[in-house]
Symmetry: C2
Subunit: 423 residues, 2 copies
């Protein structure tokens, strides 16, 4: 079946990009010179879109255009172009709430479903960095700030109900990308499905054990229900290390096309899960045994710092900017009231912590048994070595999903990971 | 400040109603005869709208029109007319999901914000019936069916995510009426507020105790958070005994203008809370001591039957019509899978039960200490007798909010009510 696109839409290519951008005065000025001299490269390595980097004599931009199908799979899996508009709107909101933590949004073309934004340089996708065992000393604090500010200021704690419901009204229509998450993360890996794949035959037994693990599937069903039906905040929706670009000094979050009103723990947990999976993959990249031990330690320290930094900032915002309708401050006056409200805050964050561990676990499972895998593991060429890393990753994931409530704090998670993920 | 209304809007009156209805062929045919002979009576005794009953030679209709302010308070409290459209849309959905349990929707005029629907006769508002100690033998089963069907088939259990999110997108805009609930039920009664009132001085101490009860306010804050941020199903939003019309044979739910995607327990609990409040009020209506004991027993039996009937029907729908995206049936195959899924169902219903008790308690508090009181209590002329009933009502409410988790089942709630509410 041929894919029908709206009138005025056409997929851009390296040849047609300059003329398109030249028609936008602010972008043309930013690039400088004449369009003929602009250098254009298509670099999209993701699953869903075209991405062009454009360099002119005076500056550069990045142009991202939605394709009407899942690029990873092909035209047999159509996907609405409208997701580009959600991405644009989420990017603008993130830029407002966490300036400097996303590429600056510059222009949106509603007919081409094309976003023009700041080109990040010399940033690389963080996942490439963790595969190469690169330390990012400012990553934890910067991503914690992104998480705390974007999530707090779109929740019932940071804005009033009318404002939050405008987000809800707007982003509830982003169903198609939510459905991808519902299927690929919360459903397929726990049943037989043609989209699943894993390192076979090494993980056949482990994959089957997951499919037959009823307590695990009960817990995953509750996480899926949260994803479906707990719109705590405007979440990024796909916050893994492939959606983050880094330098030693700077951290930027990209690609919020999965944005919708969902559980706060999904953003936090997906990120923690991907860091833990990166940790699990490290022994597979060793040439000399043990040479990645220090990097594993850095990743686990980062897991701790991300959560602790997020929690501290989120609580600070709640204490200083209680502008939402939940937990009315007028109910909690005086010293006793302040203590009671602080207890509420701690309980709320504890709930998010437990949710985050569960979501972390599901994101670790799906990258091992579902459709989309991570380069962290995929770049381990020897299937036996890869399977050994993946098996440890699955073991930790299962604990995080089933025993989230038992972890007293993030240090306990890191301690457990140190044991389970050791090569 | 004068209230500005959209062009084409004017408040109808008994004189202008016939001409308006005569222009609608289907309504004209239903009423029969010439408009001049139609009998029109304005009977709105609620807080927000005009309600006209229109009788013609061959039939009758009810016309409900939104006013641009809160009728109870006056023009100083403006309220958007758009609520009539939400009411119309919710009524149409309820009629489809629970046919026979709501007045048949006949016509909506988007300029006048006027709904024409079946006129119910000889139904009366149920609250009038409970004040008069009238038994409604079919009420429990019929309202349980309304609750189960409307809530199940708008939840992630009964419809897929895309369908549910269309409801979410549509009804998220009904913020103004949600705000009334947020303020009047979950906020004002627990602090000093000019809108509050109570039987004074008799309840001054009790009202102050509620305002100073930090554990209670912590629990209420969590219920408010659920109301703000747990869109489990399209709920009626105002399901008390004043929103239900009854005969001995028939039960109809009216007035869904507060409809939005909210917690299932809010509908169930508001209803249970109003039945418990009606029970608490009975001693105040006695002429001979003890003459209302049987009716109290009927109300408490009804509380049990409503919950049990709702729970049984909801579970049956889940077992037989699992058409939602939550709890994928493919994860729970075979006898062991079936048992695991049944455990999930029980846990889900247990959560709704606990929520319902909390919401029941908040609706009992607000009718005693907040702006809007119930005729159940207000018609008790002697303030000392009224206060005695209200004090028992508050005591039970507080237990329901604070100790919801401790009640094993609805029979335990009825047992406790039998003790606490005894005159």
């Amino acid at each position: 079946m041929a894919i029908v696109t709206p009138e005025g839409y056409q997929a851009l290519d390296e040849a047609s990009v300059p003329a398109h951008l030249a028609a936008l005065p602010a972008i043309r000025a930013r690039l400088g010179g004449r369009p003929e001299v602009w250098r254009v490269r298509e670099v999209g390595d993701g699953n869903l879109n075209l991405v062009f980097l454009v360099d002119g004599p005076e500056g550069s931009v990045c142009l991202k255009q939605a394709l009407p199908y899942v690029r990873l799979v092909g035209e047999s899996w159509p996907l609405g172009l409208e997701r580009a508009r959600f991405e644009w709107e989420a990017l603008v909101i993130e830029h407002r709430l966490a300036p400097g933590r996303v590429p600056e949004p510059l222009h949106f073309d509603p007919k081409l479903y094309a976003i023009v934004m700041e080109r990040l340089a010399p940033h690389i996708i963080m996942r490439r960095g963790t595969i190469a065992a690169t330390v990012y000393p400012r990553f934890a604090e910067q991503i914690a700030e992104f998480l705390a500010r974007t999530l707090y200021f779109t929740s019932d704690l940071g804005i009033n109900a009318a404002e939050r419901k405008k987000f809800l009204e707007r982003f509830s229509a982003n169903v198609e990308l939510c459905k991808i998450t519902e299927d690929l993360i919360f459903t397929d890996p726990y049943m037989e499905h043609e989209r699943n794949r894993w390192t076979s035959p090494q993980l056949d037994v482990a994959a089957r054990a997951i499919r037959e693990d009823l307590p695990l599937k009960q817990a995953v069903a509750l996480l899926k229900l949260k994803f479906l039906c707990e719109p705590q905040a405007l979440i990024h929706g796909d916050l893994h290390t492939g959606s983050i670009m880094v330098t030693a000094e700077d951290t930027r979050v990209i690609d919020p096309e999965f944005a919708f009103l969902g559980p706060i723990g999904f953003d936090v947990g997906k990120l923690l899960g991907n860091l833990l999976l990166a940790c699990a993959s490290q022994p597979g990249h060793e040439i000399r045994p043990g040479e990645r031990a220090d990097y594993q330690a850095w990743l686990l320290a980062t897991v701790e710092e991300v959560w602790n930094g997020f929690e501290r900032r989120f609580l600070d915002l709640w204490r200083t900017r209680p502008e939402g309708d939940a937990f009315p401050i007028a109910h909690f006056v005086g010293p006793d009231g302040a203590r009671a409200l602080e207890t509420c805050r701690r309980q709320y964050l504890r709930r998010i912590f437990v949710d985050s561990l569960g979501f972390a676990g599901t994101s670790m499972v799906r990258r091992t048994l579902g459709l989309a895998h991570n380069a962290d593991m995929e770049t381990i060429a020897d299937p036996d070595r890869r399977a050994a890393c993946e098996r440890r990753n699955l073991a930790l994931a299962r604990e995080l999903i089933l025993e989230a409530e038992r972890f007293a704090d993030i240090a306990a998670v890191a301690d457990r990971a140190r044991i389970v993920l050791r090569g």
